[in-house]
């Protein structure tokens, strides 16, 4: 049994699975149910000044029959009175002292507003604070959420104000609706953040109804952009986490968020530098019970690898993530089709023929049976065939021994720069 206990900037939980600040953490009833189901922590649905919500709030994107491949919402922060939330946070923390309860906060970018709310939530015993600089809809129009999260100076300043008052660790939750998330992450660190969490949701319009031409979702025939999350956003989130993890100036723990649906996704985020993860859409799709498999799967994975403690994997894959210019130009792989396993759907052929490098031939053997073969000399090792192949093990990408030593683009450029007599740059 591996040690799954987690510590994100001093906020401790029995396992790395927290519920993200969202509808699942709207009330004490829900958070307590989640803890009973096994969740290690919860970031309470964002507290702030009173708001009004609309009805018709969520929409999801199905892909080839798979429901909730992506999820979109236009719900705002909590619409329950602050006092009620504080009372329930207190009760929850009392019942579950070893679980992490983090308060998500969003107020106007004013020092006194931040000081006031920090004091009030810390009084009821939260383990930490998460500043919501990420919500892209509604609140942003009022200068909060992603509107302040998109301006590095505002992120820094507000973080600083919170830190002036806070006794507990402060996590700054970042918006992905920005060109380079490391600039706002750096600003949070400059402001004194103890950790950053990412990603909040991505600006989105889930769809348009083909008959009514209404947006999906719509509120009485009118729509507004929402925030996108769920499995579809995972690669975007993972890249942002990894970018921050390998950034020299962002040296605070990261809480990973974005499309995490199972223990495998959690391992990926943690390998790429997250100290823990937050989940929302998967719970909204299936209920709190999914955490049982998340915990068990993670534990079995670590046991299988002989890893005693979850903390050992945090950031372990970050050194493997770099810039394109550092990739080895002389590394070569080619596709190899295993005809014993291949079922002859020919998807690899048509994908390669129409959209890649025309190197998979459809052939017939002596007895007239069809088979597929890769012309290795023309294969660029793009992976497309193995991606579209529906059968495990039918296509392997095989490494070909290179005649040249490894050399990246950056190394190549450096070598040429030192040899001024010859400028080989084909681009110029």
């Amino acid at each position: 049994m591996a040690d799954l206990s987690t510590n994100v900037a001093g906020i401790k939980s029995p396992n790395p699975f927290w519920l993200a600040s969202a509808p699942p953490t709207n009330s004490g009833y829900q958070v307590q149910r989640a803890f009973e189901a096994g969740w290690g922590g919860a970031v309470w649905k964002t507290l702030g000044d009173p708001i009004l919500n609309v009805t018709s709030r969520f929409a999801a994107v199905s892909f080839n029959g798979q429901r909730v491949a992506g999820f979109n919402n236009i719900e705002l922060i909590t619409d329950r009175p602050l006092e009620v939330n504080l009372k329930e946070i207190y009760e929850t923390k009392k019942k579950f002292p070893n679980h992490a309860v983090v308060a998500s906060l969003m107020v106007e970018p004013k020092q006194e507003k931040w000081h006031e709310i920090v004091k009030r939530v810390e009084e009821v015993g939260v383990d930490g604070l998460e500043l919501n600089f990420g919500c892209p809809h509604g609140m942003a129009e009022r200068g909060m959420g992603s509107a302040s999260g998109q301006v590095p100076e505002l992120v820094e300043k507000q973080t600083y104000w919170v830190k002036e008052a806070a006794q507990t660790p402060v996590i700054v939750k970042l918006t992905p609706n920005i060109t380079d998330i490391t600039s706002t992450a750096e600003a949070a660190v400059r402001g004194g953040a103890d950790a950053v969490s990412m990603i909040n949701t991505i600006n989105s319009l889930a769809g348009v109804d083909l008959d009514s031409w209404n947006t999906i979702p719509h509120v009485g025939g009118k729509g507004a952009h929402g925030g996108y999350c769920g499995p579809a956003v995972k690669p975007i989130a993972l890249n942002m986490v990894a970018d921050c993890a390998r950034h020299p100036n962002i040296n605070v723990p990261i809480s990973g968020i974005g499309g995490i649906s199972d223990w495998k996704n959690a391992v990926e985020f943690m390998l790429m530098g997250a100290s823990g993860v937050q989940v929302c859409t998967a719970a909204m799709h299936h209920g709190f019970r999914i955490v049982e498999d998340m915990i068990e799967g993670l534990n079995n994975y670590l046991d299988g690898k002989g890893i005693a403690s979850l903390s050992e994997i945090i950031g372990a894959a970050v050194p493997k993530y770099s810039e394109w210019g550092n990739l080895d130009l002389n590394y070569k792989i080619v596709a190899k089709i295993n005809n014993d396993v291949c079922i002859n759907c020919n998807k690899c052929h048509i994908a390669c023929e129409d959209t890649s490098h025309q190197c998979i031939d459809m052939l017939k053997d002596g007895s007239g049976n069809s088979y597929l073969e890769v012309r290795e000399e023309d294969c660029v090792g793009c992976n497309l065939c193995s991606i579209v192949c529906p059968v495990d093990g039918a296509i392997d990408m095989i490494e070909i021994e290179s005649e040249h030593p490894p050399m990246s683009w950056n190394e190549r450029q450096a070598a040429f720069t030192s040899n001024q007599s010859y400028n080989p740059d084909p681009v110029k």
Partner: protein, 455 residues
């Protein structure tokens, strides 16, 4: 009768017994199944379909919600595609070729085809428009799968087509010959309407050779297509065949599709002679008419029977009993001329004969009697010999001889479907007939274009 069969068969509501057995897919099921299709390139299912339906494409269209397009893809390749969705031996054709047989389980292509064509039927879609007239006329004899298919393709190519149909309704085998619980008549009628919508004229109750002569057709039309199918079940050649209660399986099935269902079989004992698909139809229709016991008598064994495996399984589920190596020798009647028993002889298999099946031979002294109330004959079908003679076509034992381009010995007469179906030439399937009809249309068009160029 076992409990499960009790639930399947009602003795009081016979009509219910003849409703389509297989429930169609729901919209959700169809989309899920469609999404499972790999959308193979150069897919083997297409190769395995005698009409070459672009199966991955029609399935993709179900997944995308383009059901009209899906039905159009199906029907453009196969003018009787809605019927074929129900009657094709898919395990032996498209589904048997599905690449997923090698990894998980094959796509339910037949059910998906049925789903898409059902949509077109329910939404009263007209999927095709006739081609610009080229001024040529074609007479087609027979409105079964082959005739309809030829007519549809010829109409699309601009020919003025007239179909001569001896029966009261068009559709041939699909309308009259396939049991309702597999293929309801309305499906066949929709396919007929699709063809009629292309200005194809169908003259029903019109028998060539009686109501109009072959010569008249030859004089009035540029081309003739003989697609008359086969005729009745031949005689067994045994005593008692004329008795009351002896039926021709083809006629027997036809009556269940055209008349009020009779309750005269309720509680009765029935034997069916033969073990082809028509015999299965006769047997399962008997069960559905309330027969207490239904036996299939076959002089060879399960190995030699020509019924599809799924039909055999279906009959067994219906409680039909199979008596292998059993040759009827005499039908015995009562004083009123009604069947009361059948005398049989046990057989054994000897050496294979010319068609490769082992020849049955009687075992002396093994005569036995089965008391029965009805005997249904299903030992094949005879040919429309006189019709073939009227056109003076080259033939062997009633099988019209054709060239590779379906041309008969008369260059303006083409033939397709069961009239050209000879022993050892694969299977007489609806889908094969449909493809032959298409091929005839293309052959006629080729001949016409060739003549136009030389003229």
């Amino acid at each position: 009768m076992a409990k499960s069969e009790m639930a399947r068969i009602s003795l009081t509501d016979l009509k219910r017994n003849f409703q389509e057995v297989e429930p169609g897919l729901t919209g959700r099921e169809a989309v899920e199944e469609a999404n499972r299709c790999l959308y193979c390139y150069d897919a083997p299912c297409i190769q395995a379909c005698p009409t070459g339906i672009d199966i991955p494409t029609f399935i993709k269209k179900i997944a995308s919600g383009n059901l009209k397009g899906s039905a159009t893809t199906i029907m453009s390749a196969n003018p009787v595609g809605a019927s074929c969705a129900r009657v094709c031996p898919t395990e032996e054709l498209c589904e048997g070729a599905c690449v997923l047989n090698h990894s998980t389980k094959p796509i339910m292509i037949g059910d998906l085809q049925r789903h898409a064509t059902n949509w077109a039927i329910q939404n009263e879609q007209v999927l095709f428009h006739k081609g610009a007239s080229n001024g040529r006329t074609v007479a087609i004899i027979g409105s079964g799968p082959a005739g309809l298919s030829a007519a549809r393709e010829l109409a699309l190519l601009g020919y003025k087509v007239t179909i001569f149909e001896a029966s009261d309704k068009a559709g041939g085998l699909n309308t009259y010959g396939i049991v309702s619980f597999r293929l309801p008549q309305q499906i066949s009628f929709w396919e007929v309407e699709q063809v009629k919508s292309l200005d194809v004229e169908i003259l029903t109750n019109t028998t060539v050779g009686k109501d109009i002569s072959a010569e008249e057709l030859q004089n009035s039309y540029d081309f003739i297509v003989l697609a008359a199918g086969m005729a009745h079940v031949p005689n067994l050649g045994i005593e008692g065949e004329e008795l009351d209660g002896v039926y021709d399986a083809i006629e027997f099935v036809k009556e269940t599709k055209t008349k009020q269902l009779t309750n005269e079989f309720v509680g009765k004992n029935v034997v069916v002679i033969g073990a082809g698909n028509t015999a299965i139809d006769g047997a399962t229709c008997s069960v559905r008419l309330g027969a207490e016991n239904v036996k299939i008598l076959y002089r060879r064994t399960q190995v030699e029977m020509s019924a599809y495996d799924f039909e055999y399984e279906f009959a067994k589920q219906d409680g039909v009993e199979f008596r292998w190596l059993t040759q009827p020798t005499k039908i015995i009647g009562d004083e009123n001329g009604r069947v009361k028993a059948i005398e049989c002889l046990k057989m054994e298999l000897g050496e294979p004969n010319e068609d490769g099946r082992r020849r049955p031979a009687p075992v002396n002294g093994t005569e036995f009697m089965i008391p029965v109330d009805a005997v249904i004959k299903a030992i094949g079908q005879t040919r429309h010999q006189s019709l073939i003679d009227q056109f003076n076509l080259e033939q062997i034992n009633g099988v019209v001889q054709i060239s590779e381009t379906y041309q008969t010995s008369d260059p303006n007469v083409y033939a397709c479907g069961d009239v050209v179906f000879g022993k050892g030439k694969g299977e007489a399937m609806v889908v094969t007939a449909a493809q032959q009809g298409k091929n005839v249309a293309y052959a006629i068009h080729h001949q016409y274009e060739k003549n136009s160029v030389t003229a």
